[in-house]
């Protein structure tokens, strides 16, 4: 009997020894960029924007010397908390903001709960704190947010790079040996400061996209600017110059966003009915919401919004061919295949379904591909502007893929497997929009295509992940094989427009 107590005691020891410390976010280590990318100001811009920036004060000027003196004084009195803030931003602003944006998405990715009368309330941008909180960061909303955010960051950094190397004012840490370099990349000219640029773009863009989180966003932006100054990487006037560039560039992107068609992407009850009617008129079984109570489709006219690197004619030209008619034997076979996968799910396939589910309360598939990209971008240690370029292209491609996918979904209005056979039970939630083609497949193929272009030695890995993401929807019982196969192909075709642009932008 004593032995049994001993055994239990040992078991309990082992039990606690197994506990791992969970690291909350991916670590962004201190880094020195592998290249400065002096010519980034000449790379082809995404939007034709002109900004101006007056020359900085001379480094010998009284004003600038006073700035250096104040930095020295701040460095002499840095608190532990201030050092933590410096460390937080030292791993690269583009990657840090990308992480913050993923968190904002996960926080806001909750569909409104139904009203007592079985209708659904709509989030209101003018009243973001009232339930339902604005926004509902669903996949279309998210890929658009990422694309604007990352494109504006990239464009503003490009402009900053132009002026950095035009005016060539060294950083405080380089100008004054009494100032320590507490962040990486202080060898770059610091006027205008990239931290000021990124903080201003983030503040301006994210306050519109995630208004209920303005206070948190403001705090992050303030910290980032302070980190640049406290670390000897930029002077207050460098940061102010960065702010003006960031604000000017972001304003242009915001005015594009105001007229890109998002405002009418939700449609209205008449238009929703027209979608179903048109499908019935074509002799098809239409998609219907499988939620209870039935929920209006998710942004059914998102397919009409403006793409970044594709005209609508180009989008129509690459649209997938029609799915099998709903009354065809081929469709019956597709349904039967889904049913078989749903019924015979294995633990391995369930793990794949859940790995890629990216549903309610998560950062969505676009966020997932940013998460994947971040690991490679951390290792690449590119300049801030080149990292921003990668994230901009990744998210533009995913956005354009999302728009094209939504256009396809609502053009064909194809029913979900469970619409066709109510006995099909699913291993993840059924998204509230038509089946053909799979959004996960389209997003993932676009993401993998761009990442494969940026990191050619890893291309096969990215393609494989995209294929797995695509298959996960079939395994989970929520998509037919045709949705997955066509979605992957479609995502690839659409993202090629982005890659064509990237190949010719002068950055290679």
């Amino acid at each position: 009997m004593k032995n049994i107590f001993l055994l239990l005691a040992l078991a309990s020891f082992n039990f606690f020894a197994c506990q791992e410390e969970i690291s909350v976010t991916e670590q962004l280590p201190h880094f020195q960029a592998v290249a400065k990318d002096e010519n980034a100001g000449d790379w082809t811009p995404i939007l034709p924007i002109t900004v101006y920036l007056i020359a900085p004060d001379d480094v010998q000027s009284v004003a600038y010397q006073a700035e250096l003196a104040s930095i020295k004084q701040m460095q002499a009195n840095l608190t532990v908390e201030q050092r933590e803030i410096i460390k937080f931003w030292d791993g690269g602003g583009s990657l840090r903001w990308n992480q913050i944006l993923r968190e904002l998405v996960a926080k806001n990715n909750l569909p409104p709960a139904p009203n007592a009368d079985n209708t659904y309330p709509a989030p209101d941008a003018n009243n973001p704190f009232n339930y339902p909180i604005f926004p509902f960061a669903n996949p279309p909303y998210t890929c658009r947010s990422f694309s604007y955010f990352c494109a504006a960051q990239y464009e503003a950094l490009q402009k900053a790079w132009h002026f950095k190397f035009l005016y060539n004012r060294a950083s405080p840490a380089m100008n004054d040996s009494g100032i320590e370099a507490l962040m990486g990349n202080t060898n770059l000219p610091s006027y205008p400061s990239e931290e000021g640029v990124m903080a201003s773009v983030a503040e301006k863009a994210l306050k519109l996209l995630f208004p209920a989180d303005s206070a948190k966003i403001y705090q992050y932006a303030t910290d980032q600017r302070n980190a640049a100054i406290w670390s000897g990487k930029a002077s207050p006037s460098d940061v102010a110059a960065g702010n003006s560039i960031g604000n000017a560039v972001c304003a242009e992107f915001i005015s594009r966003a105001k007229t890109d068609g998002m405002k009418t992407a939700g449609g209205n009850p008449t238009l929703w009915q027209a979608l179903a009617d048109s499908s019935i008129a074509k002799g098809q079984i239409p998609w219907t919401s499988l939620e209870s109570p039935a929920r209006p489709p998710m942004l059914p006219f998102y397919g009409g919004i403006k793409c970044w690197f594709m005209t609508s004619d180009q989008m129509f030209a690459v649209r997938p061919a029609p799915p099998y008619p709903t009354n065809s034997p081929e469709m019956a076979a597709q349904v039967a295949e889904v049913k078989k996968y749903a019924k015979e799910i294995t633990r391995e396939r369930l793990a794949i379904v859940h790995k890629w589910a990216d549903g309610v309360g998560t950062y969505t598939p676009p966020g997932h591909w940013n998460d994947i990209a971040a690991e490679y971008l951390i290792d690449a240690a590119w300049s801030e502007v080149r990292t921003a370029r990668a994230l901009a292209y990744l998210n533009i491609a995913i956005h354009d893929a999302g728009v094209a996918c939504w256009e396809t979904k609502f053009y064909y209005f194809n029913p979900r497997p469970t619409n066709m056979d109510a006995e099909i039970k699913t291993s993840t939630g059924i998204p509230n929009f038509p089946a053909y083609t799979s959004g996960h497949s389209t997003f993932s193929a676009a993401g993998a295509n761009v990442l494969g272009y940026l990191f050619p030695t890893q291309a096969a890995y990215f393609d494989n992940e995209a294929l797995q993401a695509s298959n996960s929807r079939l395994y989970g019982g929520i998509h037919y094989r045709q949705d997955c196969v066509e979605g992957l192909e479609h995502g690839k075709r659409v993202s090629n427009f982005t890659i064509d642009f990237a190949k010719a932008d002068g950055a290679n």
């Binding site: 039990f15 939620e291 209870s292 369930l350 309610v360 309360g361």
Partner: protein, 301 residues
Amino acid sequence: MKTVFTPLFFLLLGMQVHAQTMTDGLLLPKKVLCTGLAYGHDSWNEYWEGGLKRTNGNIGTVTTQSVGLEGAYGLDDKVNILYGLPYVWTQASAGTLAGQSDFQDLTLALKYLALDQAIGTSAIRLHALLAGSFPITDYTPDFLPMSIGMGSKNLSLRGIFSLDLKHGFYTDLSAAYIWRSNVEIDRTSYFYDGKLINSNQVDIANRSDFHLAVGYRNDKLQANIFYNPSFTLGGDDIRRQDMPFVANNLDMQRVGALCRYHFTRNFTGWEINASASYVVAGRNVGQSTAFMLGLFYAFAI
């Protein structure tokens, strides 16, 4: 036989039976084994989303059923070893989510009589119970409310105070602390308590569990009513219209009644037991009604 688990799915969303209330102040004598099967049925159609009570048309009524192999063995007159292993299956009456089924967690426990004191015609006893449980299959805890369990390894320590009065009236009062290991899920990020966590490991908070039973018992019959509050010592709320998550703060107060009948006057022979219970208050749990029916046989070896 005098010691059985009451495999109450005190678990809300189909949580495990690990703390199955090894809560009474009784022991089997040395070299007696009592073992059998218990069937459990737990269902709810209302749940608390944080503090908000609601129904959900996308799940309807969630039912968790189980058949468990359970038992106890007298190592000596002061120490019993207890075990339990349920097979669990879930289903939702509405929506499209697939029910899950598998063997869940193996529970092993040692119960030790620390004090046995007669006071006039009454008796006071103190027991200590050390229990461990762990999943024996690779079920996913990340598909609540359809998951069959929480996926953690648990270790719990319980103290049981018993008072038996002259005519068979008694009370058992116990308190347990349950340490829970991290849980591994199939995805590499999740949102918890306002933060995006980039990991497939979930740190779930420990729990406490209390059990008060008042009733009557003699050699053949035992009947009681009980109150069983249990709490997660941390965790976050289910957000509005979000899915439940393994790291949620699960609190519940359950009341119920238990009856058990032993067909012989000695320790060997057949025994049946049954219980019913209802969650009167909770947070991030289903307001479930649970039934349990068990058939056991005890014999000396």
